[in-house]
Every structure is written in C-alpha cells, then in structure tokens.
C-alpha cells in the first residue's frame, strides 16, 4: 500500500509522543482499541482549568502507520483548542488531512474516539471530582 506524504511524515516524525501523569486532575486520558484488533491508542490532554484550553496533548499508539499518523495529528490539533472545540474534531477531518484510503478509515475513527475518551475522562474528574481510573480501560 502506498502511504500519503503526510502519513509518512507523521510516522517518521511523530509529534507529541509521550505520557502524562494519569492521576493529575487536569489530565484526561483516553485509551481505545484492542491489541487483538491490531491497534490501541492512548491519548492524553492537559487542560488549563481556568480557561478550558488544552495546553498539552500526548499520545502513544500501537497500530499501523495510519493509526500512528491519525493520533499524532490529533495531538497537534488538540493543542490550543478548548475542550468544547476539541469535541468538534471529526474523523473525516483526519481522513481528509492525511488522505487516508477507505481501508484505513477505522484509524481515524479510533483517533476521534480517543479524543472523546480523553475529554470525557477529564470532565469526569472535574465534574464529579473523581480520580482517574475509568477511562484508561473503557
């Protein structure tokens, strides 16, 4: 399969790889996918509680090149957005940006799910004042 230049760029130079402290109340963690399906994405956002702006985003992904590129791109897009803006990111935006072929659309869906899971984790923490246990394995 031929990869688009943008997928190759993200694969060769993934942005924002890493992990943040899951127990930090300002950090939301989303983990989606399953090893037996061949892809697992972990996406984390760090939100400024005053402004609601995502100040940092990190990812780690087990998956094909398109899955890595989708999550790398997602972290780029998340930074600087408010939590509500972040929820507007659609998988089709990722498909278009990375020129993903039809067989790789599920990678973009997974990235969108990861964004939603991370933000829901963050909201859960602030809203109900819970600690971070849920989202990691949801």
């Amino acid at each position: 399969m031929a990869y688009s230049d943008k997928v190759l760029d993200h694969y060769n130079h993934p942005r924002n790889v890493g992990s943040m402290d899951k127990s930090d109340p300002n950090v939301g963690t989303g983990m989606v996918g399953a090893p037996e399906c061949g892809d697992v994405m972990k996406l984390q956002v760090k939100v400024n509680p005053e402004t609601g702006v995502i100040e940092d985003a990190k990812f780690k992904t087990f998956g094909c090149g398109s899955a890595i590129a989708s999550s790398s791109l997602a972290t780029e897009w998340l930074r600087g957005k408010t939590v509500d803006e972040a929820l507007q990111i659609k998988n089709t935006d990722i498909v278009n940006e990375l020129s993903l072929p039809p067989v790789k659309i599920h990678c973009s869906v997974l990235a969108e799910d990861a964004i939603k899971a991370a933000i829901s984790d963050y909201k859960g923490k602030t809203g109900a004042g819970k600690t971070a246990e849920t989202a990691a394995a949801v």
Binding site: A34, P35, K42, C64, I68, H106, A137
Partner: protein, 404 residues
C-alpha cells in the same frame, strides 16, 4: 550492498541467471509444439521437455512418467485433491487435511465439501506440527486422501512427512503433500517419504513463474487422478494444454541446480538465518519465534515482536522486502490464520514478520536487516502504549479493551 533488499523468498524467488540462460533458446529459436510429432521443431521441443522431466524427477526421487507439468502449485494441488476425490469417489468421500495449509489446498477442500465430500481439518500443536495420533484417529474406512503440506509457507516448519506417509500406507489411504516450500530447499524423496502425490512450483526455487508439476505415483500403488482440464490429452491425459516449453525447461534447469547445490546452499542459508535470529533476539526483549525450530526450513524465520504492530514495522523497514501476518497487510483485514492456529493470540499474529532468505542474500544484507529491524522495533516500542503498560507491570491480558 544494494537497496531495497529482497528477503521474501517464501513468496517468490529471483530467477537464477543460469535458469534464464537455459530458457532463452526456447522463445525465439526452438519454438515448436512439444506435441508435434512429425517435424523437427516438435521433436526438439519434446526433447527439451523430456530432459526437464528427468531433472524434476531426479530432484524428488521419482521417475519421469510420474511427473505431470502444470501451471504451478495451485493447479497441482487442485488436480491432486479434486482429481483423487473424483477418481476414488466409489471408494470413499473423506479427505483429511490440516488448518495451516495454503489456501490452494484449503479452498480446494472447501469446494469439494460443497459437492458432498467430507473434510477433516486437523488442528496443529503450538509448534506448528500436526499430531500423528489425531491423524490416525481421523482416518475412517471412507478416507481416500491425506493432504498435509511438507513445509509451511508462513512459519517454515517441516511436518513429519515420513511418519504421515507411513500412517497413510498402513491404512491404505493416499498421501498428497504440497511441497512448494520444501522442494529444492531440503531433501525431498517421494520413495523415502512415502508420498503418493506431490505439488511443486518453479518460481519458489529460482525457476520461472507459471510452471510447476504434480508428482503422481505409478507403482505401489498406481495412483490415478481425474483430469481437471480437458483437451488434447497431454501429460498422459492428466493435464491437457500445449506444454509451456520455455517454462518447463526453466523448471528443469532450476531443479538440476537445486539438486547439485542444495547441501551447500542450505548450510550457508542456515548460518545466515541463525545469525539474523541471534542478533535480533539478543538485542530485543519479548521477541517470539513462531513455529518450532527443531523441524524447520533452513532459510526461514518468523518472529513476533510483542507490542509492535506488523504493518507499522514493515513501514519502518521499507527498504527491506519481508512480509507480515498483520491484518493490516492482508486483503481480508484478518491476522494470519496460520499464526492464530498455533494459539499465539491475535496480538502476536499482528506483530509477526516473516523473513525468507534466499540464494542471492549476502551476510552484509543480513547484518543490515538485523540492525534496521532492531532500530525500528525500539522506536515503535517507544510509541507503544502496550509496551509502556507492560513495563509498568500491567497484565495486558486482564485489561478490558474496547474491541472495534
């Protein structure tokens, strides 16, 4: 050293230049139809075909009258299995094969099932081999054929063919083996191994594509197959169609070279394979060898790199041609059914890479491939949430994942 490096020799091999030289005259100069009995053009073509038939027969310990030329192993497998099922339909309607066969065998069996043939698909053990007791137990008085491959195309294990041949003989059942990965690579002898039908293909051992053969035993017992292609009655009625003379000449030349050089070549490739394996396994943690190395093709290696997905690994080593059992690299988006059959778990199937060394690989290439694989696996593990969790001591098998 030239890039990219070809290390996918289970899929196909580069033609040996000596094979190409042998074939050359049969395109422009000696272009007769081997079935033309009344002129020089035909005689020369027939002579070339008969020489090649002898070369192929010699490689597997057969006689020339037992070699039927075909378009390749897929056709040979079809002819063997369908041909026996039809020819021996009055004797029985049960075939035994196993789950890690090539699709050319599995899909042929599935086709026959629709026509009322009963097929038993034996499981394999963790090491990739069939259990001989299960084979014995599966045989009934309706069993007409056992079809078990010689060596597996994905994991390189070599089935206990000689023992299978004995079981088949004891029970009066015919034994077909798909010998595609073994012939020309390791010693295969139809007498010693008790094989009644054997499929082989030219391009897997440095010959041309589009040509293969089916060995059909003539004595003790005399095996017959119903033709699947009707026409001019070529190949003693078993396979009609004008013979592919240049291809057959190439197949013969490849067989002669393989017979001559096999001992030395397999020693050299075994050394390179072991070096590749040692370098990788000694540099990385959690690398798993798929299939037993006790009974294994000398040039073959299948590794699973835990916590790394196969397609992303292939992407990182894109100047090396190998293949992966990852779903993402298959047309069906399913991970390798062969690795799943070993009980490796889907996650390890997704993480597998098959290395297939060949005649033209060098030690320098092996060093390069090992180094590159190690680098890319390390990089991808840095990226892998699974590796991170495993290092933190999380038991991944106990996690609740969101399957999708």
């Amino acid at each position: 050293m030239k890039l990219p490096i070809y290390m996918d020799n289970h899929a196909t091999t580069q033609m040996d230049p000596r094979v190409f030289e042998a074939m050359k005259p049969y395109f422009l100069d000696i272009y007769g139809n081997a079935a033309s009995r009344n002129h020089r053009f035909g005689w020369e073509a027939e002579e070339a075909v008969e020489k090649a038939r002898k070369q192929v027969a010699d490689l597997i310990g057969a006689t020339t009258k037992e070699i039927v030329f075909t378009s390749g192993a897929t056709e040979s497998n079809n002819l063997a299995i369908k041909g026996v099922a039809q020819m021996y339909a009055e004797k029985g309607n049960h075939i035994i094969t196993q789950v890690t066969e090539h699709k050319a065998v599995l899909d042929t069996c599935k086709h026959l099932e629709k026509e009322g043939v009963r097929v038993t698909y034996l499981p394999v053990k963790k090491d990739g081999l069939i259990d001989l007791d299960q084979l014995r137990d599966a045989i009934t008085d309706k069993t007409i054929l056992i079809s078990i491959m010689y060596a597996n195309n994905e994991i390189g294990i070599v089935q206990p063919v000689e023992e299978i041949g004995k079981v088949a003989k004891e029970r009066g059942v015919l034994f077909h083996t798909d010998g595609v990965q073994a012939v020309g690579k390791i010693p295969v002898n139809v007498i010693h191994d008790g094989i009644d039908l054997l499929s082989l293909s030219g391009h897997k051992f440095y010959g041309p594509k589009g040509v293969g053969a089916l060995y059909v035993r003539r004595r003790n017992p005399r095996v017959q197959v119903t033709a699947q292609i009707d026409g001019g009655g070529h190949e003693r009625g078993m396979r009609s169609g004008t013979l592919n003379v240049p291809g057959i000449v190439g197949l013969g030349a490849a067989a002669a070279i393989a017979k001559e050089e096999m001992a030395e070549e397999s020693k050299r490739l075994r050394h390179l394979r072991d070096k590749l394996q040692d370098k990788i396994v000694n540099s990385l943690d959690e690398v798993y060898v798929n299939g037993t190395m006790e009974r294994h093709l000398p040039h073959s290696l299948n590794l699973s790199f835990a916590y790394v997905e196969g397609e992303s690994l292939l992407m990182g080593i894109n100047d090396i041609a190998v293949s992966s059992g990852s779903a993402c690299t298959s047309a069906t988006l399913e991970p390798s059914y062969v690795l799943k059959a070993l009980g490796a778990g889907d996650d390890l199937a997704h993480s597998s890479i098959r290395f297939g060394l060949g005649r033209f690989n060098t030690e320098e290439e092996v060093d390069y491939v090992a180094g590159k694989v190690i680098d890319v696996v390390r990089k991808l593990r840095e990226l892998s949430p699974l590796y991170e969790m495993a290092k933190e001591g999380v038991d991944l098998s106990k996690m609740q994942w969101t399957a999708h």
